[in-house]
């Protein structure tokens, strides 16, 4: 799935579907279940019906009629933040939950593949 047509063209995946929505909405609009379902049906159907490697199917969905979102915040100014290895929790509550190790029995950080194990803890 993609909402960045030029980047997907450059990456050249085997099969892709493009929905012309603002970034952060690749799979649909928030809480619009019928739209989300329809996008996914079109997406999954592409597995069966696309036959040319590297092609991109343009899906027929429109974010809105006037396309004004395409011009909003078009990369003005410097909004980059300093990169840090500090986990960027959505909330303090999440941070506390992770520190308690509430999901210690499951995969927490899957980065230890160099030694042949895929994750810490037992996921299966």
């Amino acid at each position: 799935m993609s909402s960045a047509l030029d980047i997907t063209r450059a990456v050249n995946p085997p099969r892709a579907v493009f929905t012309d929505f603002p970034l952060g909405h690749t799979a649909g609009k928030a809480f619009d279940r019928p739209l989300q379902r329809q996008i996914m049906i079109e997406t999954l159907s592409a597995f069966e019906t696309m036959e040319k490697p590297g092609s991109i199917r343009i899906l027929p969905f429109e974010w809105d009629a006037d396309h004004s979102w395409k011009h909003a915040g078009a990369g003005e100014g410097d909004n980059r933040q300093e990169r840090t290895e500090e986990p960027q929790y959505q909330s303090e509550e999440d941070k506390a939950a992770a520190q308690e190790g509430r999901l210690a029995e499951e995969c927490i950080v899957c980065s230890d593949w160099s030694a042949g194990t895929v994750e810490r803890g037992s996921a299966d």
Partner: protein
């Protein structure tokens, strides 16, 4: 009236130049795209959801912003209200209200219920796509996820970037 899609590469290249940053080394894969024919009907296929929107489950460690090439396993029977996002490069407002916009888990579960697809792998796979080093994605993250896809016997891999 239809309007052309946003040209993100050109937009970001202009922005970096204006701010005096080094140009970003975009990946252009010019070889023929790898191809595997689909071997089963959708209704018999096990789908693996792979999403780069920084989704984690409450209780897991969130992603960080400095070339984080780790990933999370999210059980595909997860309660949607336990899902969170951590990402620096897109507007997370809607994703935090309804994770399905970048992590279509309810959508896919619905289509399993309908019999449109056969099922889902035991886990979905999530990471934070704002990784500057494409080499590290290629050499570290992608092989690790590919290994899990084989272990969970995925028939189809559905990639959802943001």
């Amino acid at each position: 009236m239809a309007e052309a899609p946003v040209e993100y590469i050109a937009r970001i290249t202009r922005q970096y130049a204006k701010l005096g940053y080094k140009p970003y080394g975009w990946v252009y894969n010019t070889d023929a795209s790898p191809w595997q024919p689909v071997r089963k009907p959708l209704a018999q296929s096990r789908v693996a959801l792979i999403a780069s929107g920084g989704i984690y489950r409450q209780g897991q460690i969130a992603f960080h912003s400095k070339d984080d090439t780790s990933f999370r396993l999210i059980p595909t029977d997860v309660h949607t209200e336990e899902l969170r996002t951590a990402h620096f490069a897109y507007d997370q407002t809607d994703a935090r209200k309804d994770p399905n916009v970048v992590f279509p888990i309810d959508t896919l579960r619905g289509l399993v219920q309908e019999g449109f697809i056969g099922g889902l792998t035991q886990h979905a796979f999530t990471f934070m796509g704002g990784i500057y080093s494409s080499r590290r994605v290629r050499e570290e993250l992608a092989p690790a996820i590919t290994g899990r896809l084989a272990a969970e016997r995925a028939d189809l891999a559905l990639l959802v970037p943001v």
